[in-house]
C-alpha cells in the first residue's frame, strides 16, 4: 500500500470511530433545539434571584473558601518531600519509579471520588472535603514540583557546590531559589482550581456552598439557587483576581 493510501485508510478509520462516539453519546441537534424552551424557562424562573438567602449562601461560600485554603496549604507542604522523591535528577531509579507510579495512580482519581470515600469514612461536613482536597492536590502538586526540580539550571548548582558548600547548603542556595517561585505559583493556581472543585463537594455532603446549590435545585427554588450562584461567581472572580495579581508578582 502506498503512503497516501495508508493515510486515507487511517483517516476513514478515525471518522468511523468518531461517528460511533457521536452516536454512542446520543448527540442530537434536534433534541438540543427541542430543549431550548425548557432552558429559557429554567433561566426565567431564576429571576429575580431571591436575595433573602444571600447570608446563608455567603456562609457556604466562606466554608468552601476555607476548605480550599486549608486543603491546598496542607497539600503544598505534604507535596514537598514527595516532589523531591519523584524527581529524576534528585533520587535514583529504585526510588523514582515507585514514587512516580504512586503519584500517577492517586492523581487519576478525582477530588470528588475522594470526597465520597472520606464522607463514608469520617462522616458529613467540611472535614471530609478538606481530606479530599488534600489527597488529590498533594499528588498533583508533587508531580508539578518534581518537574520544576528536574527543569532547573544545573549551572548554579555546580557553582554553589564548587564553593565547598555542604549538601543542604547546595539545596538551599543552588536549588531552592530556582524552584520556590515556581512552587508558589503552582500552589496559587491549585488554590484557584480547588475553590472550583470545593464548590461541588457539598453535593456529596462534604461541606461548603455546593450544599445550598443542590438543596435549592432539589426544592425547585430557582430564585434561591440563582442567588447562591451569584455569590459563587463573585467569590471565584475575586479569588482569581487576587491570585493572578499575586502570581504575577512572584514569577
Amino acid at each position: 500500500m502506498t503512503r497516501s493510501a495508508r493515510r486515507l485508510c487511517l483517516g476513514i478509520g478515525f471518522l468511523v470511530l468518531y461517528g460511533w462516539f457521536l452516536s454512542a453519546t446520543e448527540v442530537s441537534l434536534s433534541r438540543f433545539v427541542r430543549g431550548l424552551p425548557w432552558m429559557a424557562d429554567f433561566l426565567r424562573r431564576m429571576v429575580p434571584p431571591d436575595l433573602s438567602v444571600l447570608s446563608s449562601a455567603a456562609v457556604g461560600a466562606l466554608q468552601t473558601l476555607q476548605i480550599a485554603v486549608v486543603g491546598t496549604t496542607v497539600a503544598a507542604l505534604l507535596a514537598l518531600p514527595l516532589g523531591f522523591l519523584s524527581a529524576r535528577t534528585v533520587v535514583s531509579q529504585p526510588i523514582f519509579y515507585p514514587a512516580r507510579a504512586l503519584l500517577n495512580f492517586f492523581r487519576s482519581i478525582d477530588t470528588m471520588v475522594y470526597a465520597l470515600f472520606f464522607v463514608a469514612a469520617v462522616g458529613l461536613g467540611p472535614f471530609p472535603g478538606v481530606l479530599a482536597v488534600v489527597t488529590y492536590t498533594t499528588m498533583t502538586l508533587a508531580k508539578l514540583y518534581s518537574e520544576a526540580i528536574e527543569g532547573i539550571d544545573q549551572g548554579p548548582v555546580d557553582a554553589v557546590a564548587a564553593t565547598g558548600a555542604g549538601r543542604l547548603q547546595v539545596l538551599r542556595f543552588g536549588i531552592l531559589p530556582q524552584v520556590v517561585p515556581l512552587f508558589a505559583s503552582y500552589v496559587l493556581y491549585r488554590l484557584e482550581t480547588n475553590i472550583r472543585a470545593a464548590t461541588i463537594l457539598g453535593f456529596v455532603g462534604a461541606g461548603g456552598i455546593g450544599f445550598y446549590i443542590q438543596t435549592y435545585l432539589r426544592m425547585i427554588n430557582y430564585p434561591a439557587a440563582a442567588a447562591v450562584l451569584l455569590v459563587l461567581v463573585a467569590m471565584i472572580m475575586g479569588v482569581d483576581f487576587a491570585s493572578s495579581r499575586l502570581r504575577a508578582r512572584i514569577v
Binding site: A162, G164, A165, Q169, Q178, P181
Partner: protein, 253 residues
Amino acid sequence: MADCYDMIRTRGLRKTFPPNTVALDGVDLDIQPGEFVMVIGQSGAGKSTLLRCLNRLIEPTAGEIALNGSRVTGATPEALRAVRRQMGMIFQQFNLVKRASVMENVLAGRLGHVPGLPSLFGRFPRKDRELALSCLRLVGLEDFAERRADRLSGGEQQRVAIARALAQEPKVILADEPTASLDPMLTESIMGILQRINRERGLTLVVSQHMLETARAYGTRIVGLRQGRVVFDGPPGAITPGVVQALYEGGVS
C-alpha cells in the same frame, strides 16, 4: 613546609565518558603558586573536563590530583569540601542564581566558611557580609549589591561570579572559558581583572581559553591540550607556528 608542595599536581589524570569517549588521557601537571596558566586547545580537546576534574565537579576515571599537598582524588566528602573552599571557580555561563540578589550570590562564596545552620536561614556573620561587599568593590559592582542577578548584563554577571569566587578567599581560581560568552571589549575587562587578582593577590589561576591570542597575552604559562593529552607546556613565547599547527590543525580525528 607548605612551600614544598606544588599548588596543583596531577598524575595520570584520565576521564572517559561512556560509551567510549576519552576526554582526558593521562594528564600530568605541576602548577606552582602564583602561576597564570592558560589551557588552550580545540573544543573537545578536554579543557573543560580538566578544569572540572580539578575540583571534582566531574569525577576523574583514574589518576591523582593534589592541591597544595592535600589529596583531592579519594578525599572524603568533608575533605573535598575543605579542598573546594580553596579553589574558586568561574564558568562560561556565569552560573549565578538568577532570581537571587547580587549580594546573595557573592555570599554563596562564603558557604564553605560560615556556620552551617544559620546559613540555611540566610544568616551570615557581619564580617562575611563585609568581605562579600569588599569583593564586589574589587570588581566595581558594590552599588549593585541589592539588584537581582538577572538584571545585570553578561559582563557584569561574570564580574559578580568573580566576586563570588574571591569571597571564598581561595588559593586558586579555576576559570572555564570565562569570556566565551562575552564580546571582545568585555573579554579584555574580565581578563584584566583576573590578571590583577593574579599579580596583586598572588592567586594561582588556571584558565581555559579558546582564543589563542588572549591566552598568549595574559598567561605566564600555556598548556596545550589535544585529544585529552598535553601536547604543549611552556611560556607564551615558546609557542611556534609548529605548535599552533599541532594543536589546531587537522580537526578532531
